[in-house]
Point group: C2
Chain length 299, copies 2
DNA sequence: TTGCTCCTCACGTCACGTGAGGTGGC
DNA sequence: TTGCTCCTCACGTCACGTGAGGTGGC
């Protein structure tokens, strides 16, 4: 064959040994990648020139390279691949690793599909309203809290403001009377027990978070107060900043959003007063910062 | 309210200004994250103590933080979020960005689903055979090549070896006779034109890659040779290393794999002789390294 | 000799987590 | 004064890409 006038592949790499550039082309990886795999002991060159440090690879190293690439493609890290290849793991262990990988990918697909719904919701909003949503809604985990509150039904929206301030006064009065020590960072909040948005017969509670350790004693002392545990939950939440009067928009947006994203509410909506007590409000045009939490579950 | 014996939230943060730790708890992000967002000008503290460099945040900065978190959750980078928030982009541009994001997520879901199939294939193999596959198969893009070859039908497997070596001799003879200069790294290969695996009436071609620039002249000169372009394609590929006699296992695995992963073959299978010319083989037990490429399309 | 290939650092990527080492605030 | 919180570096993450600066091979 040496007499042919064209270069036969074997002429150049007589013992089927390739320089790194040629091996990288055959294997469809970068030279940098081969150097990295060498360094990580994932794939060492068949030989290394002791004077020039040139790396030389044998063609029959391709299967090993391909095994690495396949496992990488399945989503394993180079570290995991090293374990899988070097230790010749038993089949059961390989199956376990693959099963784990499969579960992870399954989960990731579900996550991406939910993300897709959230993107679609936002796109629909902008298409409809011509601007980004005023309230950014997302799901987060809410820890359990212990509350001391006063629950009552308000006849309609007109009476809401007065009613609420009256209840709050009573609440704080009772707390003072019983010399209550709450959590250092207690938060004032309102709960809405109606299962959907309504403008009359509003069943609500005004409350503050209290130290669960004192809850037992308090329950006996202050019978007027509703002492109860608010369970931990997942909730669609948003922080509203603006005049009290427009808070209702945020609330309805929240209900709309959970519908779009395939959730259903599963508990009273919680309204946290972040910018101070509602007792300090003088007008519906006063600015407040309020966090809304709507407990949800998959519909 | 100051007279209450418990700490009211407003007592501590009189103007609803929080230290970084408290703001990070309210916003459900780490302190480190807030510092980063400060540095990136994504969310600057409402005020910074000029002596201590303490960062102080206002409660009404929560909506901005949440907007950042929501956009991050949709998959935007902090850089993109900065553009979206700072420049008050027009709705059309926001929609375009969201549409792009949606397309990306769509694609990612499809990718992950295909990955899932590949994982399942491998799991099934290991469950069935008790060991990882001998040949690692994956899909890659193959560029177009120009070939000079000799096509013939081989009656059955017994005659295969002799037939092939005879054809190859003819091929190399013709190339020599016409003083052909091929690509420096030309590769010898075999093509299988039967659309599925068969052991008789095998329609095949033995060929070498040639420089496309010389293909025209060659076609006139060497009428005995089949000069043609092998189109670019996607192919399921594997590199087989071992005795020639077991190569057939790799071939059948390849066909099995594409079925499992919902592909169909769409062209003749290509067999590249990586470890040298088939002419040098003396026995079916000789070791070879061969790359198999099976052109595919979605079934 | 001229290109071309190879070599070894070493920085950059992305969004933080995790110390180290030091200081302010109640 | 003692914890607790805050501060600023600065390294690590993961799998490479991309030069910089220098040398071997045909």
């Amino acid at each position: 064959m040496r007499s042919y006038e064209f270069y036969v592949w074997l002429d150049r790499y007589d013992h089927a040994v390739l320089r790194i550039g040629d091996f990288s082309q055959l294997g469809r990886v970068s030279v940098r990648t081969l150097r990295l795999y060498d360094e990580l002991d994932l794939l060492k060159p068949a030989q290394v020139d002791k004077f020039t440090d040139y790396r030389y690879y044998a063609v029959d190293q391709l299967p090993r390279l391909n095994r690495i690439l396949v496992l990488k493609d399945l989503g394993f890290s180079l570290d995991e691949i090293k374990t899988m290849i070097d230790n010749a793991l038993p089949a059961t262990q390989l199956e376990a690793m693959l099963a784990k990988r499969k579960a992870d990918v399954d989960q990731q697909i579900r996550d991406e599909q939910e993300r897709l719904a959230r993107i679609a919701t936002r796109m629909a909003y902008i298409a409809r309203e011509g601007q980004p949503p005023l309230f950014d809604i997302f799901v987060k985990h809410i820890d359990a809290h212990t509350l001391a509150g006063i629950r009552a039904t308000v006849a309609n929206l007109d009476e809401m403001g007065m009613e609420r301030q009256a209840r709050l006064s009573t609440l704080y009065g009772a707390l003072t009377q019983h010399r209550l020590r709450t959590m250092p960072q207690h938060i004032e909040c309102a709960l809405y027990y109606n299962t959907e948005f309504t403008d009359e017969g509003i069943d609500m509670e005004l409350a503050v978070t209290i130290d669960p350790k004192t809850a037992g004693a308090l329950a006996k002392d202050a019978a007027a107060l509703h002492i109860h545990e608010l369970p931990a939950c997942e909730a669609a939440t948003t922080v509203y900043g603006g005049p009290v009067s427009d808070l209702v928009q945020a609330i309805s947006q929240l209900y709309y959003w959970i519908g779009e994203n395939n959730y259903a509410s599963c508990g009273p909506m919680r309204e946290l007063h972040l910018s101070g007590s509602e007792l300090d409000l003088r007008s519906a045009r006063d600015l407040v910062t309020v966090e809304l939490q709507l407990p949800i579950e998959r519909a």
